[in-house]
Structure formats: C-alpha cells, structure tokens
C-alpha cells in the first residue's frame, strides 16, 4: 500500500538516478535530446497521475496522505518539472558541464516537492522541505564560473539555513508542548483546548520559516537576488515549483493542523500579506532586469495568495490553489521567453513583437496575466482572492484594509508589467534580427498561452479541481 501511494515519487527517483547513470555509460551523448526525452517522460508521468484516485487513508503511520489536495499539487509539480527540463534542454549550451547532473537534481527536487504535497507530519515536512531546499542550493549556484550565480547560491544557502532553523525550532516547541508531530492528532488536541504561549511561539516560528519558501515578509529579501543570479530554468523552478511547495505546506499546516487556533494566526497572516504585497510591488517599480523584476513580482504574488489564506474561508483556500495553477502557466511562459531571447535587461526586449511575433505575444500575455487583466487567467485568480477577502470582511472590517492594499498593488503592478509590454510592442528594436524559436519551445509556449486564455475565459475545470482539493479542509 505504501508503495502504491508513493509510486510517482519512486518513478521520479528512478528517472533521476537513471539520468546520473547516462553520464557513466554515454559520456558524450546529446544532452539536449536527453532533456527533451526527460521532459516527455515526466509529461507521461503527469498524464499517468490522472489515473490515481484520491483516498482518505494515511500511509507510513499517518505521516503521508494521498488525498485530492496532494494529487492536485503533485500534478502541478510534475507540470512544472516537465517545463523546467525543457528549459534546461534549451539552456544546454550555457551550462559548461554537468548537464546530466542538472537534470538529475531537478528530478530529485521534484521528488521532494511531490512528498511535500502529501506530508501529514512535522517530521516528514522537515525532511521533504530539506530535500527540496538543499537541492536548490546546488541548482542556484550551478553556473559555477559566474559570480552572480555563486552569490545567489550563497544567499539562498544562508537565508535558507536560517529559515530552516526557525522551522525546526518551531517544530520542537510544538512537539514539546503537545507531544505530537502528526497534523491530525494536533488538530484534535488543539480543538480540545489548551494552547499555551510556548505553543503559539512554536507556531509563529514555523509560519515564518515556511514564509521563506513562498518569499513572504520577513524572509523575502533573497528573492530578487537569487532570481536574478540563478540559471533561468532554476529561477523558473523557484518561481513555480518551490513557491507552490511552500504554499502546499502553509495550507496543509495552517488548515489541517492548526485550524483550531486560526484566531491567532489569521491576523498575523493578514499583516504579513499586506506587508508582502507592499514590498514586492513597490520594489518592482524601478527594476531594469527582467528576472529581478519577476523576483519582486513573485514576492507580490505571494502577497496575493496570502490574502486568500488570511481570509481563512473555503473560497480563499480554493482561490489560492486556482491562483497557483494559473500562475504556473503564466510564469513558465514568461521564463520560456526569457530563455529563448537569452537576454535579461528589459531594454533588450525592445521590439520583440517585431523580431519574433510569438515570443512577443507570449511575453506580453504573461505580463498581462500577471497584472490580472481579463480575459487572462490571472484576472480570475485575483478576482477570487479579492472575493474571498471581501467575504471575510463581512464579519471583520479589517479585511477591507487588506482588500484596499491589494487593490493598490494591482494598480502599481500594472505599471511595471506594462513597462515590459511597452518594450515589446511600442519601443523600436535596436537589433532587428529575428530570434529563432525551437519547436519544443514553440509547443511549450502554445500550451501556456492556451492555458492562460482558456482558464481566463472558461475557469470551470481548474476551479472544480481546486474546490475538490481544498475541500479536504472542510472550511466554510
């Protein structure tokens, strides 16, 4: 039974180890083709995952779940992994060595994320979290001859270690005061009453530690630097996979384990959401480097999603899942374009619409979707989050302040996203040579654009999946 529940993870581990072996057996092989092959295999795994049915059972002595929530996130991570492998294949010339190791590390990080989707216990949470984080330390510093990449790796390492310290310290407090690390037992204990200040301290420490993964205040400083310095496929993985993993943990811990004490953490999240929104969106205004811009923007988007979590209602948690789903397509689209163009200054994107109509259209749509403009999926994501906050505001007027800050953030974000749009379509190109786009990238871009427009107009399929996944928390 346990093997059944972890079959997706096992598949990824086999793939990862197999990739490492290719270096031993075929040292001179075509690494680009290997990337395409792995991306295809992960896509097949993704399709296969739709045959799995969610179950209410727990595995590994209650540590592991395979419910609809876990499956939703596993599919999201598999999607992100497939795209990141495709990006890695496109990035092959820019890695000097160790392409196979790169693929293997991506697959191992993905395994960690898949476990994260299922955790039901603080111990497993920490192990899975470290599996992802430590792999990312290597991945961010993968361009070992570039100072920026090394700096990014070091920053990520130091702040990551600090936040891990926070998390594990918090877990110790929680275990020390309640005597359990299992989320279900914790919820039962807490609803029976009795949570001392030591327990609350532990909870807050865990909350801030997890905030590192999603890049929320107070652990958001790393995001712009790391996003800029890391190899672009890794940046994409951070933005899509690692962030979603952080939210999977936050949702599971807060809503499954700590729901009985929501009166304590909801105001905290409210403040954190507002601060994160402000930091990300104001910081993004003056950016000239598109990856750095997306780093700030990812902080901003963490703020929007925290709005949904802070609202603490069914619509809010569903909205976070929907948002993550559409955010994956949007961000992957943007990063695919960045890799295809191969330049990072926003000024280099001048006239992209003429140099390559498909890259121009894709990046513009991604920016518009991030800004939340209909008929793109980002609009509906934000719409639901705002609706959730206004719903919470019907009983607690403080949420109107959060909605107001969110509204202001939308306007500010429009400015910097449309600055990229201005470069693409309005400014004249300095360099007018057409940019070649390989067939797999083209296919990836079409998938992302179709998803952005499709989910923006017809939201029902993803909403249904998100409702089902968030339904396990039984919120009203």
């Amino acid at each position: 039974m346990n093997l059944y529940a972890t079959q997706l993870e096992c598949l990824l581990v086999i793939l990862g180890l197999g990739t490492l072996l290719t270096d031993a057996f075929r040292p001179g092989g075509d690494r680009r083709k290997l990337g395409y092959l792995l991306a295809t295999l992960v896509t097949i795994t993704l399709l296969y995952s739709f045959t799995l049915a969610p179950t209410a059972d727990t595995f590994f002595h209650g540590m592991y779940r395979l419910d609809s929530f876990a499956l939703f996130f596993k599919r999201l991570f598999l999607l992100a992994t497939a795209f990141v492998l495709l990006m890695g294949a496109e990035f092959v010339e820019r890695f000097e060595t160790g392409v196979a190791e790169f693929y293997a590390l991506v697959l191992l990080a993905a395994t960690g994320m898949l476990v994260i989707a299922s955790v039901n216990d603080f111990i497993l949470l920490f192990v899975a979290l470290e599996l992802v984080t430590i792999t990312f330390y290597i991945l961010t510093a993968f361009l070992r001859r570039q100072v920026q990449s090394l700096e990014a790796g070091t920053k990520y390492l130091i702040l990551g270690a600090l936040s891990s310290g926070f998390t594990v310290y918090g877990i110790a407090y929680i275990f020390g005061t309640t005597g359990t690390t299992n989320f279900d037992k914790l919820a039962t204990l807490l609803s029976a009453g009795g949570s001392g200040s030591a327990f609350l301290l532990g909870m807050l420490l865990v909350l801030t530690g997890l905030g590192f993964k999603v890049a929320s205040v107070p652990f958001q400083i790393w995001a712009p630097d790391v996003y800029q310095g890391a190899p672009t496929p890794v940046t994409a993985f951070l933005a899509v996979g690692s962030k979603a993993a952080g939210f999977a943990l936050l949702l599971r811990v807060m809503l499954a384990g700590l729901l009985p004490v929501s009166a304590v953490w909801m105001p905290v999240l409210l403040v954190l959401a507002a601060a994160t929104l402000g930091y990300g969106n104001l910081g993004a205004i003056s950016q000239r480097n598109i990856k750095r811009l997306l780093g700030y923007s990812s902080i901003g988007h963490a703020g929007y999603m925290l709005m949904g979590l802070a609202a603490g209602n069914a619509l809010g948690s569903q909205a976070v899942l929907f948002y993550l789903g559409q955010y994956a397509f949007t961000n992957l689209c943007a990063f695919l374009v960045i890799i295809a163009v191969g330049r990072e200054e926003i000024a280099d994107y001048a006239g992209l619409g003429k140099r390559s109509p498909i890259l121009g259209a894709a990046l513009f749509l991604a920016m518009a979707s991030l800004a939340g403009i209909p008929p793109l999926s980002g609009f509906f994501g934000k719409f639901q989050l705002f609706a959730a906050v206004i719903e919470a505001a019907q009983t607690n007027w403080h949420y109107y302040i959060l909605a107001g800050i969110g509204a202001g953030a939308v306007v500010v974000s429009l400015y910097y996203y449309f600055n990229v749009g201005r470069a693409i379509y309005i400014e004249e190109a300095k360099d007018t040579t057409p940019i070649p786009v390989s067939l797999p990238v083209r296919a990836g871009l079409y998938v992302c654009m179709l998803a952005m427009i499709g989910l923006g107009i017809y939201q029902q399929p993803l909403v249904e999946a998100a409702t089902l996944a968030a339904g396990i928390f039984g919120l009203k």
């Binding site: 569903q318 209909p374 309005i426 029902q460």
Partner: protein, 506 residues
C-alpha cells in the same frame, strides 16, 4: 431570437480570434473581416432595435448560460431601453471606426485584433446582466486600449514634453485604479445580496444598511467616475485622446467613457438609494467643475484633439449632472446625451483624423482656410461643432434640454446653481469650438495645405455622413430613443425609491 444579441456582442471577439489565425501578410483580408464583423454586429443591433418591445421596461432578448456554478456566475446578456440605446451607439461607432481605420498601414493584423476585442469588451459591458461579466468586459478594454494608443498613436512633441507612452500608461493606470475601487464595492454588494452576481436577483435580495450604502456608493461613483472622467479624475482623458489613433479616440471618447456613467446608472442608482441621496449634492458640485473647468481649459488649447478632449470631459459633466438629478427626465436626458455625445465625439475625432492624416499637424493656429481644399470635411466639422454647442436640430440639444429641466426640477439650491453654470457652459463650448473651426477651416488659405485631398467618393464620405445623419435623425425625432429610455429609467428609479421607502419603514 435570444441568440441574436449574444452573436452581436461576441461576433467581433470571434473575428479577432479568426484574424489571429490569418497571415499578417494579408492585411486586406483582415480588414475585410473587421468590417464584416462590425458591420454585421451593427445590422444585428439595428434588427434587435426594430424588434424591441417599446412597452416593456424590463430586460429583453435575455440569454443565460451557466458559467461557473461555484460562484453562481452566469454568462447572461439582455437589453433594456438604456442598454439598447448604448448598444446601438457601440454598433454605429465601431463600424465607422473600422471604416476610417484605412489610415493604418503598419502592423494591421494586431490593430484589427485589438480593435475587435475592444468592441466586444464595450458591448459586452453594456449588455451584461451579471456583475461578474460586467466587470470582466469592463476590464477587458485595458489591453486593447493600452496597445492601440501605444502602438498606433501619436502625440506631437512639446505638449508638456509628454509622450504617447506616458499618455497611454496614465490612461491605463487611472482606469484600472477606478476599476479596482469599483470592484471592492461590487463584491460587497455580491455578499450583501446573498452571493449572487445576477443584477435582477440582486435587485430583489440586496440588503445593505444606510451607512454601508454610503461608502459602497462612493466606491462605485468614484470608481466608475474615473472612466467617466469625473473631476478631479479626468486628467488622463484629453491626453489619452490626443495620443490615440483616430479609431481608438472615437471608441474611447465615443463609447468607452460612457461605461463609467452606465455603471453608475445600472448598479449604483437602483441598488444603493440611500448612498445616492447622500452623494448627489457633491456630485452636482463636481459636475460644475467638469463643465466649466474643462470648458475653460479647452479654451486655452491649441491642439485640435486637446480641444475636443477637454470638450468631452466638459460634456461628461452634463451626463453626470443628469444622473445626479435622480429624476426620470434628468437621467433619461443623461442617457440620451451619452448617445448623442458618443456619436458627436466619434464624428469630430474622425474628421480630425481625416485631415491630420494628410497635414501631420493639428495645431489650430497653424491650419487656415482648410475648407477651401476640403469643403466636405469642413461642412461636417461645422455641423459637428454646432451639434456639440447644443444647437436645436441635433440630438445633443434634445438631451441637454432634458438634463437642464431635470436639474432645475430637482429643486435644491445646489442643483439650481449647477443648472445655471451648465447653461453657461454651453456658451463656453460654443466659444472654443467656433474659434477652432473658424481659425482652421476659414480665413485666408495657406498655400502649404495645397496638397490636401477631400473625401470625394461615397466610400470615403460614408462614415462622416452616417454619423451626422444619426445626430440629425435623433435630433429631429428624439422620441425614437427616449420612448425606450424613459420606461427603463423609470423602473430603475422606482426600485431606488421603493428601496428607500422600505428602509425608512424599518
């Protein structure tokens, strides 16, 4: 029958997708597609208008498709007298806009895709009976507008050193700021109305305390007020119009701007009666600023498009004053004025586009005696100026009179003063328009404009003549529209006073 309305609204968007698939190397085919889509939409709208039941004040041609059950969102379209009038306006202006777009030569494919998407965004907002889709279509105009102005616009240098990039960004930010403000109000209404976006259900279910109504109304009034260029949120407007290409100016000044006023009439007035009572006096005062301040600002402008841009801000003051009266004749006048001003603004901007395309100069003092070379355009411009100044015989006259009567009839001192100022506003309007027309079209002929070519063929003349004809027909026979507007306005205001009575009883 019900499908016709949905088709009329969505046909341009469907054509935009189709145009996306056509090769960019065949601009002729894409332009033909755009003309076909807007033309058929206009014909369908006219057919719906002819079949419209004039006795029925409620929604007609209602078509509802379940869209998102979890939030109770339905794709629901329908028209009452107010929507019908404005849908007609969209049809007329978008078709004429597509016709005069032959001046675009660069990147035609993107141009027509954006133009068609914009058209659906606007007509969708006017006909949506579901608040979600109302907002969806309302915001959908953002991308096309930003790119149309940024990619195809032009702003002669020197005007405060502003560029078209600045103008289009300012316009986008202002409109979005207004939209998100309104969104907070709309979502509050969604929850207070028992979680429904359906405007009819909302009318029956909404329960909001007086104090809440006051600030929700403020959200809607100022949120939509941004788009309606309500003072002091109007500054994006003249600049944006000046920078926009002809057809985008026509769509924006003619139709898009009316979405703001429409949102207030459709959502704020019937559902938030107490809020409305609270804010109308302030609104009337702001309208005085709109009318006189923007009018005086127009007096000082040299650029034709800035003159008309300020003029349209000034005219929106009359529309908002009409809304503020909260009586049938005033609000009906406001709706009719939205139609009349929409056609008139589209006409003026298309005429400016006609000569600017050849002169590359629209500075009023630089132009002189143009009427000698382009008599047809000159005559149309004189007529447009007369319409704008509210001369009898044009639709603007009928509607402005209705607004004045409504405002005077309202009775309070604020409104009496506002009425007097508004009447004086007409003198200001006449002053700057007649000055601009006299200077640039009459007077000594300047040889450097010898190369100008007039609209000679029927094909060239048609859009201008058509818009002018609409103004005259409605001017001589305003009942063609007021007959359908009034019952619907009555119904909206009846809901308003019925609600107020209910609240007072409690």
């Amino acid at each position: 029958m019900e499908h016709l309305l949905t088709i009329a609204i969505l046909l341009p968007l469907a054509s935009a997708f189709l145009a996306f698939l056509l090769p960019a190397k065949k601009p002729g085919a894409i332009r033909a597609l755009a003309l076909f889509a807007t033309g058929v939409s206009l014909l369908l709208t006219l057919y719906i208008f002819s079949q419209f039941d004039r006795q029925d004040a409620g929604y007609q041609f209602v078509k509802s498709i379940e869209w998102l059950p979890s939030l109770k969102v339905n794709l629901k379209f329908g028209v009452d007298g107010i929507s019908m009038t404005l849908l007609l306006l969209v049809g007329i202006v978008s078709f004429c806009g597509a016709l005069v777009s032959h001046e675009i030569h660069d990147r035609q494919k993107e141009y027509y895709i954006l133009f068609l998407a914009l058209t659906t965004g606007i007509s969708g907002t006017f006909c949506a009976m579901d608040m979600f889709f109302f907002y969806f279509f309302y915001e959908m105009a953002v991308i096309p507008m930003y790119l149309l102005i940024g990619m195809y616009g032009s702003l002669p240098a020197g005007k405060h050193g502003r560029t078209k990039e600045y103008a289009t960004m300012k316009l986008t930010l202002y409109l979005t700021a207004g939209a998100v403000l309104a969104l907070i109000g709309l979502l509050t209404m969604y929850y207070a109305g028992g979680k429904t976006f359906d405007m009819v259900e909302l009318k029956n279910n909404l329960r909001l305390a007086g104090s809440t109504q006051k600030w929700v109304f403020a959200c809607l009034l100022f949120g939509f007020g941004f788009l309606a260029s309500l003072f002091p949120f109007h500054t994006w407007s003249p600049l944006g119009y000046a920078a926009a290409p002809t057809a985008a100016s026509m769509m924006h000044a003619g139709v898009l701007k009316k979405l703001g006023a429409y949102g207030i009439i459709r959502l704020a007035l019937p559902l938030l009666p107490e809020g409305a009572r609270h804010w109308v006096d302030l609104l009337a005062i702001l309208c005085i600023f709109n009318i006189l301040y923007a009018g005086l600002a127009a007096l000082t402008q040299k650029d034709w498009k800035f003159v008309i841009g300020y003029s349209s801000v000034s005219h929106m003051g009359y529309v908002m004053l009409g809304i503020a009266t909260l009586n049938v004749i005033g609000v009906s006048g406001a709706v009719l004025l939205m139609f009349a001003h929409g056609v008139m603004a589209a006409l003026t901007f298309s005429l400016i586009g006609f000569f600017y395309h050849q002169t590359h100069n629209r500075n009023v003092p630089d132009l002189s005696g143009l009427a000698r070379k382009i008599p047809f355009i000159g005559v149309c411009m004189v007529m447009a100026a007369m319409a704008s100044s509210g001369l009898p015989g044009f639709a603007n006259f009928a509607s402005e009179i209705m607004v004045f009567i409504g405002a005077w009839h309202q009775g309070s001192t604020v409104f009496r003063i506002a009425t007097i100022c508004a009447v004086w506003g007409i003198v200001v309007t006449a002053t700057y328009l007649l000055w601009a027309v006299r200077t640039s079209f009459f007077g000594p002929f300047d040889e450097k404009w010898n190369m100008l070519k007039d609209a000679t063929t029927l094909k060239q003349k048609f859009p201008y003549a058509f818009l002018l004809a609409v103004l005259l027909v409605v001017g001589f026979w305003p009942r063609s529209l007021t007959d359908i507007i009034k019952p619907s306005v009555q119904r909206i205001l009846a809901t308003n006073s019925h609600r107020l009575a209910q609240m007072e009883k409690q």
